[in-house]
Symmetry: C2
């Protein structure tokens, strides 16, 4: 049975890395003290080692040992043997490119479907949806495809940001961008504000955290859903 | 001899479409009263016809007739016969995808090199650089390549935005994104603020408009250049 936390962000303003989620994670990873970390998204271009150290620091607070997937000779075997997985944020294109390069997409789908607890933040959440067509990241590398894990039957927009009515900047608002997405694609998009996450238990998907989320469905006006909402019907 | 205006944006806050550039464009397009418009970037998902009408409205003020490239049976011939070209903004991925679909990349390079005046705004400026790896747009479609015209030997970042020190949002700043780009790529990036443009005359590239631009070179601290700066040495 699938068990996932699909979080908008790793970090809330003024708080430490993963801090706001640690209590949740203690319960989520209760059956293992060892987490397989996928550092491929390399935020700020840092190395896999540096990023894994950062994850280890946070997980030390709940007494979990973190090992980076790059430390294994065979990353597929590492995934299959993992008792808990965490895919960190950074650049979604870099993450997806590396997953394809290492031919890990189908193995990740298998282990998630078989019930290995999966935590994703930001880029690590984007890949849980159907495609990365709704990432906010800069396309700094060209991946072989935008298709991703499709564990949830919609797209994610992490770090969802409401329009700033005082802005004089002429770049598109997030809502405009997602509406443009729907000129070319029909799957729903869940705009997850920082501090929100989706909790997946088997076929059930619930919105968690303190905030509302904004849902964009094809040919429908965007709407808000409250925390606690069951989003399992969204497809 | 190449003649180009590569503009950060089509529109300044509180002003009409292309308004701030019209005086410049009167001179730039002085040898023709007919402009070939490429509406492929479809801002907000609007149709090619709607977008062409919008361009026509602005160009009417300087007595130019606008025709959309989609109105021609043979878009390659339309490009070759054009006396002036304008590629409007919108979504860079949608624009690039359509250029590849219609096999127009090399024809555009030819006509620009042969001297047809070319105006690009936003997405239409992005494609003048080496790749679209530094676009701000959402990747709502998957183009066959991120490589673009390479008329200037660097990348463009239009709508360049300085970090907002009061922001509590944890998404990456523009500067962080471009630095991540340089973890994987080595060409320079010109961050063009709204209201700035590059003027290309043959091999000369000058920064125009009222504002500074921000230059990002591989393995160097980012720096500011003043309007009027000759950027021909940047590669």
């Amino acid at each position: 049975m699938k068990q996932m936390i699909i979080a908008s962000t790793s970090t809330l303003h003024g708080s430490g890395y993963l801090n706001y989620l640690l209590e949740e994670l203690m319960f989520f990873y209760k059956d293992t003290d060892s987490i397989l970390f996928i550092p491929y998204a390399r935020p700020g271009g840092i190395s896999h080692d540096e990023y894994t150290e950062k994850a280890q620091e946070a997980f030390s607070e709940i007494e979990k040992k973190v090992k980076g997937i790059h430390e294994f000779d065979n990353p597929k075997e590492a995934l299959k043997n993992a008792k808990g997985i965490f895919v960190g944020g950074g650049n979604t294109f870099v993450l997806v490119n590396q997953l394809y390069k290492n031919d890990l997409i189908s193995t990740m789908q298998e282990v998630i479907h078989s019930g290995t607890p999966y935590l994703g933040t930001s880029a690590g959440s984007n890949i849980c949806g159907l495609t990365i067509n709704t990432t906010n990241d800069m396309p700094i590398v060209y991946p072989p495809s935008f298709k991703t894990l499709g564990i949830v039957p919609f797209n994610i927009n992490p770090h969802y940001l409401d329009p700033d009515p005082s802005s004089k900047h002429m770049g598109e608002t997030r809502e405009t961008r997602i509406q443009e997405f729907h000129a070319f694609n029909s799957q729903p998009v869940v705009g997850l504000r920082e501090g929100s996450w989706l909790e997946v238990n088997g076929d059930q998907v619930f919105l968690e955290g303190e905030l509302n989320a904004r849902i964009f469905e094809y040919n429908k006006a965007p709407y808000e859903v409250e925390t606690g909402t069951n989003l399992s019907g969204l497809k």
